[in-house]
Amino acid sequence: MVNRGHPPRKLSNYLLNKSLQLRYVAFVTVMSAVISGALGYLIWRQEADASAYVLQAFDAFTKDPELRGAIQDRLQSGDDRLILTMAGAGLGLVVVLFLYLVVMTHKVAGPLYKVSRYFDEMAEGKLGNVWALRKGDMLKDFYVKFKQMHDALKKRHKEDNEALKKFIAACEAAGVGEGGVFGRELGELRAHLERREQALT
């Protein structure tokens, strides 16, 4: 059910169903960002308080500006490194979640978009060809069932057309259907059959 000859998906088309996709993406990424930000702040606050206390304890015991400066620099660099690590991890989490959700929802929205277009054709009474999904798309089981239904409808449509054709051919062979009430109805049936044939193209 995967079409290997299909061109790869484009970046600009990743948001096919904005309301569906952004609902998940926005909620999960914002929630993760807020929670990891709040936890990160707590940890940083603890670290900063511990650093301040180290300097306070140092001041209580000694008065060496040079050593104090060295210790302060080291504590500051530790705190800065902590902020960078946590900001990087938080940002990484948000970015990875965002990309994952956009890609995953796209893999759902893509097949739904495709099936919607086939549904639009069916709404107009058309039963054309159904092509395969792209590689990596989700909802393959659903798509298989859709295709089975479409194929069954199309097959039945063709069988019905054959029955109508057979009847019209039998009428023509028997020399009936030229004028009169039946002739008019047969003419309507021919036009109806023609429309049915066009629906398969």
Binding site: N17, L20, V28, M31, I35, S36, A38, L39, G40, I43, Q46, E47, D49, A50, S51, V54, A57, F58, A60, F61, T62, D64, L67, I71, R74, T85, A89, L93, V96, L97, L112, V115, S116, F119, M122, A123, G125, D141, F142, K145, F146, Q148, M149, A152, H157, D160, A163, F167, A170, A173, A174, G175, V176, G180, F182, E185, L186, E188, L189, A199
Partner: protein
């Protein structure tokens, strides 16, 4: 009344939350796993890290106290605990006993000793406070992390269920269409997603049903005209074709319910 009931839809049951396990679990478990790893590995590591380990990797400058040290005189030389300040990666070690340059007066020594004890108490209180807050943060981290994981798990399953639900419903109708049954299509449940998609399906279903309605009307008209014109006796082929047409009409009428 029936239309109102139809619009309202029926309530979802929590037992049916996993309708499309592969899609729903794949979607949800990745989010949960990633968040767990991020919280455990990054935030948890920052909370639980051993300051002495990093201090060993990157040695701190040696603390040589410049001010007069009351400690060596006041504390016994052996068995004294090291004062380690957590989180800062710095250790204030007890310095070895310095040779006394001059004997301080007894009052000064008492004052120094009192000040030293006060400092020690303050230091111990501060360390205890920091330790206690660290433990609190650790438990907050575990609590929030667990809640986040559980929340994401439920949110993921619930939200994907709102997609899987309509898909499941459409699949049931598609199975009926495949078998040639054009039943009435009912509305989605309240809160379901894919409302637009479902609207497309309803139009498609209506489009296919319209063919059946038109076929039935056309076949009825032709069969009635053929019977009125007594065409069955014209030829055996025509009689057989007409019988086929009647069978087709009966099938189509049955499919419309």
């Amino acid at each position: 009344m029936a239309a109102k009931k139809q619009d309202k839809g029926y309530k979802r049951s929590w037992k049916n939350l996993l309708l499309n396990k592969r899609y729903q679990l794949r979607f949800t478990l990745f989010m949960v796993g990633l968040t767990t790893v991020a919280i455990n590995n990054v935030l948890g590591e920052e909370v639980c890290k051993d300051p002495t380990a990093s201090a060993a990797e990157e040695p701190a400058p040696e603390a040589e106290p410049a001010a007069p040290e009351p400690a060596p005189a006041a504390e016994p030389a052996s068995g004294k605990p090291k004062v380690t300040i957590e989180e800062s990666e710095m250790q204030i070690l007890d310095t070895p006993a310095q040779p006394k340059k001059a004997e301080a007066p007894a009052e000064d020594m008492t004052a120094l000793r009192a000040k030293y004890d006060e400092c020690k108490d303050h230091q111990a209180a501060q360390i205890a406070k920091l330790e206690s807050r660290k433990r609190l943060i650790f438990w907050v981290l575990i609590g929030v992390g667990s809640m986040l994981v559980i929340g994401l798990l439920f949110y993921g399953i619930k939200m994907t269920h709102r997609v899987a639900g309509p898909l499941h419903k459409v699949q049931l109708y598609m199975a009926k269409l495949k078998d040639g049954r054009y039943d009435t299509v009912y509305n989605l449940r309240k809160g379901d997603h894919l409302v637009d998609f479902y609207a497309h399906f309803k139009l498609a279903h209506a489009g296919m049903k319209k063919w059946q309605d038109e076929d039935v009307a056309r076949l009825k008209a032709v069969i009635t005209a053929a019977e009125e014109g007594k065409l069955e006796g014209r030829s055996p082929e025509l009689a057989a074709a007409l019988a086929d047409l009647k069978a087709l009409l009966a099938k189509k009428e049955a499919s419309l319910g």
